[in-house]
C-alpha cells in the first residue's frame, strides 16, 4: 500500500507520447522530483513524496519508456533536450510557473540545465550524484566494449548490449547491487530491479544509443553548471559507482552551491538514507522559497 495517494494525476501529450505525472499535497512551493533515468520510474521517490507533500506541492512523473508514460521508440527520445522538454511539459500541465527541482543522476544534470535555461522558473536545484561529465567516467563504466559479444560476462562486462538482450534481469540485479554498496540494501535493490523490468533491454538500448549532448563533454558540462544562478544543493554518495564522486564537488563549486557528502553512501541515497535526504530537501526548499 502507498503511504499517500496523489491529489491529481494525468498525462501530458508530447507529440503522441503520454508523459504520466502525479501531484501530491497542496502546499507551496511546487517541488518537482524530476523523472529519473528510464531504468526506473517515479516510484524511486516513494520515500520522499509523502513527507515533502506535508509541506509542499510535490510533482513526480515517469520517463518515457517506463512506468505509466508512453513507450520510447527512438534514441532521440533520450536526448537531454527531449527529456528536459518532457519535464517542462509536466510543470506546464500542473500549472507550476516556478518550482524547486530535485534530480538524481541524469535527472540531477537536468535540474542544472533547466535552472540555467529558465532562471525565472527555477527557485532552486538539488542535484544528487549529478550525471554531468565533469570528469572522465569511472574506469569500470568504460572498461568493456558495450557492443562486442563475449563468451561470458562477469561484473561490469554485463554492461553489454548482447547480455542485456539475453538476460536483462540479471544485469539489473548486478547493476543495482553496484548502485547500493551500503550493506543491508536488499529491499532497495529489489525495488529497482522490479522497476527496471518496465523498461527492459529494448528501451535501455535505445537510451544507450541516444546522440551525445551537452552533458557528454567536460567543458560543456562545466558551462551548464556555470550558467546556474539559483541556490543549489549537491548531494553525493562517496561510494557512488555510477557517477564519479569527484563530479559533485566540481558541480557545487561551479554553481556556487552547497555540497553534502554521504560518506559510505551509494548512487541512490534518497532510497537508502531517506530520513537524511528528506530533512536536507525540506531545509533546502524552505530556504529557497522564502
Amino acid at each position: 500500500m502507498r503511504a499517500l495517494e496523489p491529489v491529481q494525476s494525468g498525462s501530458v501529450d508530447r507529440d503522441g507520447v503520454g508523459i504520466h505525472y502525479e501531484v501530491y499535497g497542496e502546499g507551496s512551493p511546487t517541488v518537482h522530483l524530476l523523472m529519473p533515468d528510464v531504468i526506473v520510474h517515479s516510484r524511486a521517490w516513494k520515500a520522499q513524496i509523502p513527507f515533502l507533500a506535508r509541506f509542499f506541492r510535490v510533482v513526480v512523473s515517469d520517463p518515457r519508456g517506463n512506468g505509466r508514460s508512453g513507450p520510447a521508440t527512438s534514441p532521440d527520445d533520450f536526448t537531454d533536450r527531449t527529456r528536459i522538454d518532457d519535464q517542462w511539459a509536466v510543470l506546464d500541465a500542473v500549472g507550476a510557473d516556478q518550482a524547486v527541482l530535485v534530480g538524481v543522476c541524469t535527472g540531477a544534470g537536468h535540474t542544472l540545465m533547466m535552472a540555467g535555461e529558465r532562471p525565472d522558473r527555477v527557485l532552486g536545484a538539488v542535484a544528487i550524484n549529478p550525471g554531468l561529465r565533469l570528469t572522465t567516467p569511472l574506469p569500470h563504466r568504460i572498461e568493456f566494449d558495450f557492443d562486442e559479444p563475449r563468451e561470458s560476462y562477469e561484473g561490469w562486462q554485463k554492461q553489454n548490449a548482447h547480455y542485456w538482450r539475453t538476460d536483462w534481469a540479471d544485469f539489473a540485479r548486478f547493476f543495482f547491487g553496484e548502485m547500493f554498496p551500503e550493506p543491508h540494501s536488499t529491499k532497495q535493490r529489489e525495488d529497482c530491479v522490479e522497476w527496471s523490468m518496465g523498461a527492459g533491454a529494448d528501451t535501455m538500448l535505445l537510451e544507450n544509443a541516444a546522440p551525445p549532448s551537452g552533458s557528454s563533454e567536460i567543458e560543456s558540462s562545466k558551462e551548464i553548471c556555470r550558467a546556474v544562478r539559483c541556490p543549489v544543493l549537491v548531494i553525493n554518495g562517496s561510494l557512488d559507482n555510477c557517477q564519479d564522486p569527484a563530479r559533485s564537488p566540481i558541480a557545487a563549486d561551479l554553481t556556487g552551491g552547497d555540497l553534502v557528502v554521504i560518506e559510505g553512501g551509494g548512487h541512490l541515497p534518497q532510497a537508502r538514507d531517506p530520513v537524511k535526504i528528506n530533512l536536507l530537501l525540506r531545509d533546502f526548499v524552505r530556504r529557497v522559497a522564502r
Binding site: M1, A3, K46, A47, P50, D273, P274, N278
Partner: protein, 414 residues
Amino acid sequence: MPGRRHTWVRAQRRPRRALFLSSPIGLGHARRDVAIAQELRTLHPDLRIEWLAQHPVTRVLANAGEPVHPASALLANESAHIEDESADHDLHAFQAIRRMDEILVNNFMVFNDVVDDTYYDLVIGDEAWDVDYFLHENPELKRFAFAWMTDFVGWLPMPAGGDAEADLTADYNAEMLEQRARYRRLRDRSIFVGNPDDIVDASFGPGMPRIRDWTEAHFDFAGYVTGFAPPTAQERAAARARLGYRDDDALCIVTVGGSGVGDALLHRVMDAIPLARRKLPDLKFLVVTGPRIDPATLPRRQGTKVRGFVPDLYLSLAACDVAVVQGGLTTCMELTAAKRPFLFVPLENHFEQNFHVRRRLENYGGGRCIRYSEACDPDALAAAIVAEVSRDVDYRPVETDGAARAAAMLAELI
C-alpha cells in the same frame, strides 16, 4: 511565505512528558500499553503521557481516555497495509513489513517532527519498528530517553520461502545486531514482554548468535503483560449474563483480533457452526469481528450473534466455554490467562504466529493449534470445536504483575 515561529522553553520549566508509540498492527499492543501507562503514572503522578497512534489503537485509547497527539492524523495506516497484504488467512508477515517501507519512512518523519516540536523526557516504542530502525540509522536524531519494547526478537524464515527468504531474514537480523552493537546508547532500555523461556530455540542466521542467548544478554524481562487483573468468578458470571447466555449454554467465542486480516477464518467458522450445533445443540456462538471488519458482511447462523468491537473482550473470553481464534499473541494469552480451552489457527506464512507465539503457548500449555487447511473442512472444524468445549485445562499460570514490572523499568528513565 510567513516566517516560522518557535518557542524554546527553559529546561527547568519543562513538564515531564512521555510519548508512547504502540504498534497498530492488531489490538494486542494497545491494551498492554495502556496498562503500562497507567502503572507508570502511579510511579510518576506528574508525568504527562501522550500517544502517537493509529487506528485501531486509537479506538482502545479513546475508550481508556488516553490523550492522542494530533499529529497521529498524519500517520499512514499500517493495519490497512497489512490487510492489503493478506489473502484467505495467509499473511506473509515478513514480506508485508518489508513492503511497508514507505509507510515506515513516512511515519518516522511524522514522529521526528513531533519530537522536534515538543520536549519529551521519554519515548516508549512498543514494536515501533520505524522509530527504532531509523534512530539507529540516524543516531543524531535521538534527543530523549528511548525504551524499546517487544514480545519477539528475530525475523524467521517460513519454509515456503526457501533459501532466498532465509538469506533475507538473516540479513535483517544481522543489520539489527550491528545497529545494537554500534549504538548501544540509542536504547536506554530494551524490555522483553515475556520471560526468557518464551524465546524461540533458533538462530538469527548462519554465524550469528542464538536468539535466546542474545536476547537474555540484551533485554530486561517484564514477564507477560495481559493488561488486566484476572477476572473473578463473579465477574465471569456477570460478563456471561451481560452477553445474554445461561449457565447451561455452551458458549463459543470466535474472534480474530483487531486487524481485518481474519475475515477468511470467520467465514470458515460460519461454515462449521451448523455442523457443530448438530453435534451439540446447546452450543451457542458469539462472533466478534473487531473494529476493522463489518459484522454485516458475515452470513447469519442460528444460535449465533455477530458483534463488531467489544471493549473488554478479555472479560467475555474469560466467560466462554471454548474459543476459536487466530494465532495472535494477545488473544491467545488472554485465553491462557483465563484458563479457557481454545483452538488457534495461525495465519499461513506468518512467522510470528507460527514460531514465536507457538513457542510461548507451548511454554504455558495454552490452546490447541490447528492449521487453516484443517479449519477449511467444516466437519473437521466442527468436531474440533465440540471436542474442546469445557475441556479441563492445565495451563501454566500467566503472571499478573507484568505491567507494573515494565512500568518500573520505564520509571527509572524519567
